[in-house]
């Protein structure tokens, strides 16, 4: 709906687009995925044509010429059976290694990725930039910068899909998933929800704007002056009274959160978990599951009071405390 009409493809462009066989490629991994895709297309064509032509030749050559024709017998050949077992197996091994290596490489975001945050809800995409700006069904990103999207859903399962970048990941309620990409071509690209999510699933779409650094900086600076995500989180932190227990020093009944992010934490239940986004989310919404020994149990849950956007802001705040700690240590 709103998304369908935005960047308009008119006239001849539309006619040309009608015959396109190839989606736009606009990310650092897209070309590599396409190479594998075309290799697989080649394999498919080769074997399809092979089988079709063999059948076709046999159909003509060995057609029944008279009703009482008696053909030669079938002679099972172990050599043939092994040939057509082993060759496809080897081809599969090659494809598996190629595809898996590419996948493993594509799965891990570069360390220096810029983070952005996504909350999917029926039927829109909420996107937050760490600097503060928020958008709906639109995503503005700078070109040639690796970006890691941390994503969750407020209701059902969605799926964040940008075909031009060849990236896709389910967006699940109750946990964070992530994907990353590095856009390498300035332009406007489709954003789709690729997991059926109810009535207006097909309208849960939007646009990704890949901009030059300067344009992106201008875009960030423009609009209303927003607080950064961490600042918004800090405000929530006092608004919900988090700071009455997490005072940040020895006087608090709750642990200090400074420098916590990224630290392994030994829990009451014996597990050791690294404090990451999911950990902090659990601590806010289901505190008993991440109770740290030495502190009083009984932190109330904030489930139902904070929404997923706000949880992300609180996480950004806690992360910013960690960043401060590290800076101070230097």
């Amino acid at each position: 709906m709103m998304g369908l009409t935005q960047p308009v493809i008119h006239g001849t462009a539309a006619v040309w687009a009608a015959f396109q066989l190839h989606p736009p490629t606009a990310s650092s991994i897209a070309d590599n995925v396409d190479k594998l895709y075309y290799f697989l297309t080649g394999i498919t064509l080769f074997f399809t044509i092979l089988i079709f032509s063999i059948i076709f030749v046999f159909m003509i050559k060995y057609r029944r010429r008279s009703e009482d024709e008696i053909p030669e017998g079938t002679h099972t050949s172990m050599a043939l059976e092994l040939t057509w077992t082993i060759i496809p197996s080897l081809i599969c091994v090659v494809i598996f290694i190629w595809a898996s290596a590419l996948y493993v490489r594509n799965a891990r975001p570069p360390a220096a990725s810029t983070e952005m945050f996504v909350v999917g809800k029926q039927w829109m995409w909420h996107i937050q930039h760490p600097e503060g700006p928020r958008e709906i069904d639109e995503l503005h990103v700078p070109v040639n910068v690796p970006i890691k999207m941390t994503m969750t859903s407020q209701d059902v399962i969605h799926d964040f899909y940008i075909p031009a970048f060849r990236v896709k990941k389910d967006v699940l309620p109750g946990r964070y998933t992530s994907l990353w990409f590095e856009a390498n071509k300035i332009g406007t690209y489709h954003l789709f929800c690729a997991q059926y999510c109810g009535t207006n699933h097909s309208q849960m779409i939007g646009w990704v704007y890949v901009m030059s650094d300067a344009d992106y900086a201008a875009w960030l600076a423009g609009g209303e002056k927003a607080e950064s995500m961490a600042q918004q989180g800090e405000r929530l932190f006092s608004q919900f009274g988090c700071n009455t227990c997490h005072t940040g020093d020895a006087t608090g009944t709750g642990p200090s959160l400074a420098g916590l992010y990224g630290k392994p934490e030994k829990l009451q239940n014996g597990q050791t978990r690294v404090v990451d986004e999911t950990f902090i989310r659990d601590a806010i919404l289901a505190p008993s599951t991440v109770h740290v020994p030495g502190y009083a149990a009984g932190m109330p849950t904030f489930a139902g009071q904070v929404n997923e956007d706000q949880v992300l802001q609180l996480i950004a705040y806690v992360k910013s405390l960690g960043a401060q700690e590290r800076t101070n240590a230097k």
Binding site: I9, I54, Y62, G73, D155, H190, H201
Partner: protein, 545 residues
């Protein structure tokens, strides 16, 4: 196969008693314990369900002619694709070949009087019909909009449609599958005629055996899964919905643990049919009998450990992804082995091109394409892009329609003279096979391209640049629909006007061709004694190894 009764003479069907004219009246059908009549009861039921699913598909394709939706609101479109998927998968494809041809043929092929448990067999049909009624009631009372996959928490918490009724229908129909599978396994183990050893069995029986194993082992899992879904939806027990403390992906694990093997429930019987048709119309023993037989079992076993390839983009761990990817490649090998063996069977054969053979050759071609495009989805890096798009839709329709439905129609055409004692007009049948082949490719090939371009499936509306390919696909669907209607017409016509078929119109091997068409109620006047291999067609040299 059995030489003892090879010289059977045709006796006009009107002048003798057979399973169709032994008794008349509605009661004689509804209370029948004859596996052949039960097969026909299933045939009627699933043909009706196919029409329902087909109408839904037709409306979907009509709607997709225009980017904004040419016909219905998104809400209705969602119900259409859900109805199409649920009806076609659970109420047509899963029972299609096993319940109709399997029921009719298994006792005939192994030289038995009936299946092991005839009453259980009739009960299975009643259970199936109850399931169908539940589903149809769900469609009439508001429909269901979850897709055939019922992903949670949408289906358990958010959908406001008749989810429970539809799930109940599938739950009930599942028992019919389990009991049918059980019946077939026992029948194949215990009721083979003297001399009918395991390696003399027609390959159709091997594929039925493998399918029955999946029925019995897999179906309970979907039953439990739907039960849990019901518990969460009615009693709000937190199983799948994280808001209630559940795990949304648990459902997908359970669902695909059944539903991936279910894909093989749909295709293995088709492979069995094709393994009968190719030798019959090449007048030749199948190439690599034991390879084809064991590849069925291999597929049945491996199919239980590949479910995770449906979940590559759910955020499951990279290592899980790697394991499921390698296992998915593994399941491709036995399928490839089958294709090569079928093709090799044609070599130096005496090939005729009656309608069943055209369907069988169509099957090989389309199944090959369906199988090879599966490699794109077993490959992790490309699956990320293609998962959830029209590429998936195209891929599984090549397997399930290009494969399973082509084989089903081929089987129906091959055994129709045996079932009814009548021949259908072969020219029309060849024509419809051609129309279906062309219509099918025109419908689904453009969807591969659409998927690669990035069009997600289950979209009631879509960006304008995808329109031309969608129009092409819809045009193909109308050709395909015509192709499906033609056989319906001439097959019904043949019931009354078709010339008598005689016991063995194809001069094919196999015990079912050694008796009159239609067969007598008791199948064999005396128990046949099998003294030779399957597909023992006469050869020039006189030997076939």
């Amino acid at each position: 196969m059995s030489t003892a009764t090879a010289d059977i003479h045709e006796v006009p069907a009107e002048s003798r008693v057979h399973y169709l004219n032994a008794r008349y009246g509605i009661k004689s059908w509804l209370l029948t314990l004859d596996h052949k009549r039960i097969g026909l009861l299933y045939l009627g039921t699933i043909t009706f369900m196919f029409l329902i699913g087909g109408i839904a598909a037709t409306l979907m394709r009509l709607n997709l002619i225009e980017p904004q939706g040419a016909l219905v609101e998104p809400e209705t479109y969602n119900k259409l694709f859900s109805t199409h998927g649920i009806v076609m998968v659970f109420f047509f494809l899963v029972p299609s070949i096993p319940a109709t041809l399997g029921n009719f043929l298994i006792p005939l092929m192994i030289g038995a009087r009936d299946v092991a448990f005839p009453k259980l067999n009739l009960m299975s049909w009643y259970i199936f019909v109850t399931g169908c009624c539940c589903m149809l009631y769900a469609v009439m009372t508001g429909g269901v909009d979850t897709g055939w996959t019922f992903y949670t928490p949408y289906s358990s918490t958010y959908a406001h449609t008749s989810v429970l009724l539809a799930a109940l229908g599938i739950f009930i129909a599942g028992f019919s599958s389990i009991l049918t599978g059980l019946n077939f396994i026992v029948t194949i183990h215990k009721m083979r005629a003297p001399g009918m050893t395991w390696f003399r069995l027609p390959l159709f029986i091997w594929s039925m055996y493998a399918t029955s194993m999946i029925f019995v082992l897999g179906t309970p899992v979907i039953a439990v899964t739907l039960l849990l879904l019901g518990l969460e939806r009615i009693l709000h027990v937190g199983i799948f919905d994280p808001a209630l403390g559940g795990d949304p992906l648990l459902f997908q694990h359970l669902f695909w643990f059944y539903s991936h093997p279910a894909v093989y429930i749909m295709i293995l019987p088709g492979m069995g049919v094709v393994s009968e048709l190719i030798p019959a119309f090449s007048r030749k023993r199948i190439f690599g009998y034991s390879f084809v037989a064991f590849s069925s079992l291999a597929i049945a076993v491996i199919s239980f450990v590949v479910w995770g390839h449906h979940m590559f983009v759910t955020g499951q761990s990279v290592y899980a992804g790697l394991v499921f990817s390698v296992l998915s490649f593994l399941v491709a090998i036995p399928s490839a082995i089958k294709v090569f063996n079928w093709t090799a069977t044609l070599y130096k054969g005496s090939i005729s091109y009656q309608a069943p053979m055209l369907y069988a050759l169509g099957f090989i071609g389309l199944f090959t394409m369906g199988g090879l495009t599966g490699l794109f989805l077993a490959s992790l890096a490309t699956d990320v892009h293609l998962n959830g798009t029209y590429f998936i839709v195209a891929h599984f329709h090549y397997i399930m329609v290009g494969g399973a439905v082509m084989a089903y129609l081929g089987g129906i055409h091959y055994w129709w003279p045996k079932i009814t004692g009548r021949l259908y007009p072969d020219l029309w049948a060849r024509f419809s096979a051609l129309v279906i082949f062309v219509g099918f490719n025109l419908t689904f090939f453009p969807q591969f391209v659409l998927g690669y371009l990035g069009m997600p499936r289950r979209y009631a509306m879509y960006p304008a640049e995808f329109q031309s390919l969608n129009v092409l696909s819809s045009a193909g669907a109308s050709v395909l629909a015509v192709g499906y209607v033609i056989p319906l017409v001439y097959l019904i016509w043949s019931l009354k006007y078709g010339p008598p078929a005689g016991p063995n119109p194809w001069k094919a091997k196999g015990l079912e061709w050694t008796i009159q068409s239609p067969p007598p109620t008791e199948n064999f006047e005396e128990t046949p004694i099998v003294t030779e291999e399957a597909y023992n067609y006469p050869t020039v040299g006189g030997v076939s190894v």
